[in-house]
């Protein structure tokens, strides 16, 4: 038996709450971004996070995935305290989530297939033939044509880059998926295809999805609950309850002309 040096992935936790944020305070160069923010993301739900420009959506995402240390407060992701996690424990947690960055963040010097294989190679010992099969599987899963695997990111369109980024995020079959504006910059048809894709994957893989978005169509099509970042804290509700919220920004967001058009459709 070969010694396992790479971390063994723990079985999925039975916890009901996938992400638990308590009393989060974030200050960026003196500016208060989040003021004692609490948030729970339930296992198996799709949570949409909305907010105006500069309301700290991206900061929240970066704090939750550990790219940025919070000024105060505690964050538990899949039951693990992210801000104190280090080394092997952190890697074990990182295997259980996938992150899709805004522009896909694909590694430019590698093909799409190689990009997808990066997490696989990092965490598992798999034979090359199987690695290629898995890459093809993920490429098909996100709806890219089979020949996309051999292409470099610079040869792909914006929508294809996002799909490829999603394929990489899904490489290890994570329990938790973070999406940063997945439909921004896509044409409406690609955007609604992307919504469907996320719905499909969420159902078939049983994912918990944390999605930062501006797109009201996406919110309507995919989310179970919506978290609105207003006044440096967060307000969670369903599309239904938030539409009737009295807060001026929320009211404007869900009752503005664009929102009405999307919601009435």
């Amino acid at each position: 038996m070969v010694m396992r040096i790479k971390p063994k992935r723990p079985a999925p936790s039975r916890e009901e709450v996938a992400i638990c944020v308590r009393g989060l305070v974030n200050r960026l160069s003196g500016n208060l971004i989040h003021d004692h923010l609490d948030l729970d993301v339930k296992r198996g739900e799709v949570l949409g996070v909305v907010g105006g420009s500069g309301s700290g959506k991206s900061v929240l995402l970066r704090t939750i995935i550990g790219l940025q240390k919070p000024s105060e407060g505690s964050i538990k992701v899949l039951g693990e305290p992210i801000e104190t996690l280090q080394g092997r424990d952190l890697r074990a947690l990182q295997m259980r989530w996938g992150v899709l960055f805004q522009e896909g963040a694909l590694f430019g010097s590698q093909t799409v297939a190689e990009n997808i294989q990066v997490p696989l190679r990092e965490y598992l010992h798999l034979p090359p033939a199987l690695l290629n099969e898995i890459a093809a599987l993920k490429i098909a899963l996100v709806g890219l044509p089979p020949d996309a695997g051999a292409k470099y990111p610079s040869q792909l369109s914006g929508g294809m880059k996002k799909r490829a980024g999603l394929a990489r995020a899904l490489a290890l079959d994570p329990e938790l998926l973070f999406l940063d504006e997945p439909t921004a910059g896509l044409d409406p048809i690609s955007a609604s295809q992307f919504d469907e894709l996320i719905n499909d994957l969420q159902k078939s893989l049983g994912l918990t999805v944390f999605m930062v978005t501006h797109d009201i169509d996406t919110l309507k099509a995919t989310t179970d609950r919506i978290a609105v970042l207003v006044d440096k804290t967060i307000k969670v509700g369903t599309l239904e309850t938030l539409t009737h919220d009295k807060h001026p920004w929320i009211h404007e967001y869900f009752s503005g002309a664009r929102a009405r058009a999307a919601l009435d459709a």
């Binding site: 430019g108 598992l124 034979p127 099969e133 898995i134 899963l141 089979p146 078939s204």
Partner: protein
């Protein structure tokens, strides 16, 4: 009949085949997840799938299933079908049904082939490509030189648009004024080094006074200009490539063209002209600093006082009157090479940020190479002219 991977404990993935009256039944169980994929893959490959008639795939004992596990199941099913069998049923736990269904919809999942040549072939191909690239690039650089010349002449004779003077002044400041500390310090130190090494050798003949000639002639003729060119190539040539390259990535160059601005005139011309002015001035300054370095060294180590140094330098210059001007004459040529290569590489940036880095490095290497080559050419030319 049992084949490999029987259940050791309840989490390892396992499967077994049962054959009864030509009816094949494959039973799967345990965690069919990516962590188990390597072992599952190899044992599934070894499985004899030559079966005819009906086959049952029973996955009711599967405790966890992810997309890779589901793919392995589906792949096994397809291999059986290809072998002539008929899959009668595929049963898996209810909760994993959507996953299997969405994967089954994908008809053509074929392994992605990442083409990898033999390392030696690869190496030879790279050498060939690099050679071809080098030639092409030389041609392109000449094209660019031609275009720049034409557009410069046009810009000067065309009355309807003013030349970008503010950008020109900014370039002189950025490439010239801000380079003063580093050029000054390095030239001073080179003067020190030159006179120290010269004195060491010349002392043996009791000819240490000629250290002054060495520092003066070498400094004016070669070292000052060459050193300045190398520093400027590293400092400003690279900056040109990075600035223009970033603008190209950001589509700023495209935006300029659609507005009707000519990128050559707006971006390249001020840089070339700015450096053409800044370089000779910097070279002159470098020459002076080099002489000061030499003078300081001579004063402290050889005991040649500053007035003595100046008198000897004057004599040396009378003996070789062209040295100063020959050195200074080369500066505009070097300036032109550095600016031309820097802007040329910047405009070649394409695709991603990585290419900015690559071309910036290339701009520096190329301009230093060309500067030294031209310097060698000048040496030969001057010696033939006997100056």
């Amino acid at each position: 009949m049992t084949l490999s991977n029987t259940a050791e404990n309840d989490t390892r993935a396992w499967f077994r085949t049962e054959r009864r009256n030509d009816r094949l039944r494959v039973v799967f169980g345990g965690d069919w997840i990516i962590d188990e994929a390597a072992t599952l893959d190899s044992s599934l490959q070894k499985l004899d799938l030559q079966a005819t008639g009906d086959v049952d795939l029973d996955g009711t004992a599967i405790s966890r299933l992810d997309s890779v596990g589901a793919w392995l199941l589906i792949r096994t099913g397809r291999a059986l079908t290809e072998g002539g069998a008929h899959i009668r049923s595929l049963t898996i736990p209810e909760m994993y049904q959507p996953l299997i269904e969405s994967l089954q919809r994908e008809q053509d999942i074929k392994p992605v082939r990442v083409a990898r040549e033999h390392p030696l072939t690869d190496f030879l191909v790279r050498i060939g490509k690099a050679t071809q690239d080098a030639f092409q690039q030389g041609v392109q650089l000449l094209n660019f030189l031609g275009r720049l010349t034409v557009e410069t002449v046009e810009a000067f004779i065309r009355p309807d648009r003013e030349l970008p003077w503010p950008a020109f002044i900014t370039q002189i400041e950025q490439t010239g004024v801000t380079a003063l500390p580093i050029v000054g310090l390095l030239s001073f130190l080179l003067g020190v080094v030159l006179s120290y090494q010269g004195a060491e050798q010349l002392q043996r003949f009791g000819a240490q006074i000629f250290t002054v000639n060495l520092v003066g002639i070498a400094g004016f003729r070669e070292i000052g200009g060459l050193m300045t060119a190398i520093i400027v190539a590293g400092r400003s040539g690279s900056a040109f490539t990075a600035q223009i390259g970033t603008m190209k990535l950001n589509q700023e160059i495209d935006a300029m063209q659609t507005i009707g601005l000519n990128p050559i005139e707006v971006l390249v011309l001020p840089r070339v002209l700015g450096l053409l002015v800044a370089m000779p001035l910097l070279t002159f300054y470098a020459n002076i600093m080099c002489i000061i370095g030499g003078a300081v060294m001579c004063n402290f180590v050889l005991g040649i006082t500053v007035p003595q140094f100046m008198r000897q330098l004057h004599d040396a210059m009378a003996f070789s009157p062209w040295s100063f001007w020959l050195g200074l004459m080369k500066a505009p040529v070097f300036a032109f090479i550095i600016a031309l290569v820097g802007c040329f590489e910047g405009l070649r940036v394409e695709g991603n940020a990585e290419s900015v880095g690559k071309l910036t490095t290339r701009a520096v290497v190329e301009s230093v190479f060309l500067v030294i080559t031209f310097d060698a050419g000048f040496s030969i030319l001057f010696s033939m002219l006997g100056v």
